[in-house]
Amino acid sequence: MSEDPRLTALVARADSLFRDQTLAAVRDWKARTGGLAVGFLPIYVPRELLHAQGILPVGLMGGRPDLEIIKGDAYYQSYICHLPRSTIELGLNGVYDALDGLIFPAICDVIRNLSGMWQMLFPKVLVHYLDVPQNFDAAVGGAFYRRDLESLASALADRGARPLSADALRHSIALYNEDRRLVRELYALRRREPWKVPTHELYVVLRAAQLMPVEESTPMFAEYLELTSADQSRRPQDQARVLVAGSFCEQPPLALIKTLERAGCYIVDDDFVQVHRFIRSDIPADGDPMERLVAALLTDAVASPTRYIADGVKGEDLERRLAESQAEGVLFCAPSFCDPALLDQPMAVRAAERAGVPWTAFKYAENSGQFQVIREQAGTFADSIKLWSGA
């Protein structure tokens, strides 16, 4: 049985968007609508707010392996991760000229300092450092975050965006709820029948959605879900179910994801392109929408290594995900020199061990080109799970 050609076409379109490093889709959207486009770095910004002001939120996740880094390397020492180099390279090459602003969420010191560099290198562009609160009391951290979002909205309005209105924000929240619901459905389908949703394919769909308005990404997710659910050409294989942790900022090359799958792993949960899942459930689209947006971050965001876990046991969230996904192993797959992921890893390892789930670890850079060692490591890991796990 062959694959539904509509599915093939959808994935091919997503793949071509993902591979295009010129932001052509964003330029087209701007030409069509006359709206502003604002980029954001990993992991999360409330895209609803941008959308409500008529802005296209554009997820930026560094460069692909085929991007030659010349200028970017001149800005960073060898012991700094790769994402800021490609971001600078793309900026200096003029690719990000399509963007009217850039938002730098507070996730690590490298992204933080990059925001200052951006202010100086691109003085005409709006630069906003989104200082995500680490205090989760609504009256304290929530109030601070709200003021920050309001000041962002006001700065965007000064740049020509629509002034923020409560009605528009409620509408945007409803649209993104549907978008996120479909992504959750896709992740649930992959947990149930991972052969139907190969991660290398899901990944390009998620990345493509970073470059399109929610009005286009939602139908794409819906169609992908429908087609892949119905597809009978994909048959189960004897693969190990693994959870891939640590790849929430700088992304692995697509070839690395394919390598893991070819090495005998079904990826049943991951941290890739996490903006689509950072808020875990629907945000109520009634009442004070700004308050809803703030509360979602404070109370319903994933337990990312970039967030302070004030209550509960560190690693509890990983244990929950392991149980939910019935993962048989964890691949700690972090970018080299990624402070949040690598500092968190010993605690995450303990969580995996508490859950009785075996693990292995390796690192990558977004421009890694050789995967033989990782293939052997992941293959041996998958084999050991199949041979020696309790089942």
């Binding site: 010191d109 205090n135 920050d148 000041s151 968190d344 605690m347």
Partner: protein, 431 residues
Amino acid sequence: MSPAPTTAPPAQKDNSQVRQKQMIARHFDRLAAAPETGAKCAYTFVPGNLTELLLAFDMLPVLPEINALQSAMRGKTAEYIAAAEKLGHSEDVCTYVKSDIGMMKSGNVGPTGQRLPNPDLLLLSYTGCFTFMKWFELLREEYHCPVAMLHVPYQADGRITDAMRTYVVDQLKTAVIPKLEEVTGRKYDEDRLRAHLAKSAQAENDLVWVLQSAKNVPSPIDAYFGAVYYVGPIFSAFRGTTDAVDYYRELRAEIAGRIREGKGPVTPDGDMERERFRIVVEGPPNWTNFRQFWKMLADEGAVAVASTYSKVGGVYDLGFRHDPDRPLETLAEYCLGCYTNLSLPTRIDLLTRYLSEYRADGFLINSVKSCNSFSAGQLHILREVEARSGRPGAFIESDLVDPRYFSAANIKNRLESYFQMLEQKRMGAAS
């Protein structure tokens, strides 16, 4: 080629040095005795430390960063870092963290050879460094003690806003102070806090005077290597104490004496006799080879006349003083204003200003692998400061406390070339 030695035999310790040593010894004695005396101790960080508030609750501060750097100076960190890496801590991450964890796993013996008490509280002042947060998450798993988190927003746009100040004050009121009350069983006493803050301001005045004495030619101090000792008390357990007030008064008098006598700074080999180069330094020192590194500069007759590292625990020379009349607001502003919490453009402005105000010949960036807060963007800083000031910069790489990353030959070569270039430039300008 290096010039003939410009230094004299080692001098006797100044009174202020003796006093500081005694203060530190007494502090570590109190810490060692804490399990018997019942004194409560809080582990906390240098940038954004709330020492006056801890003192108001009679808590004893322990600074893991300082323990790590002192372990490095005692040659212990190679073994501590190896112990942490064996436990699964990545080779890519901050070596302060790994040294601290390795030290804890090796018995938690502090710099004076006495065992440090376990923390009653981890006071996580999340100021200017993301790693702090992860560090105390790791320690929380080891010590199973309460954590008080104080998230200090970043000055991304180069200023402190009302929203930032309010956010920090609100956290002090709703999270930090209640936790201190809970751990110590004492009520918050604002008058005690005010009294400590008043002493802080006194000591800060004298510290600023000392640091700015480097505007003299020759400079009577080394504002990088030497300043490490000068900032020690105020960056650690003593800000807000009478000890600190007395120490800085004494230090100021000694430096005033050096100026009167036309003396240069103290170096590892004694007083420097001839100041050849005045430089500004950005970035923390390397601690494993601190003396060797200092000597590389001193042997060239190079004096650090200003540094950014001496501002990680507070940029007092820009005018900030703790204000007893606004106790919580002043703590908030202090935390917000520490050097690594400043935006990159502000850091560039500050360095450029130092070059001019301190009549420096150039600047040196010591880029440390461990510290992205400092290091990410330093190559940009190098270019910008050179362009704005017209003065050349040198760039070297090392680490905080991992001896594997200190390549003495490479650093020495680079420094020698740099000083030769400064000399050539000077000769060119004179001809």
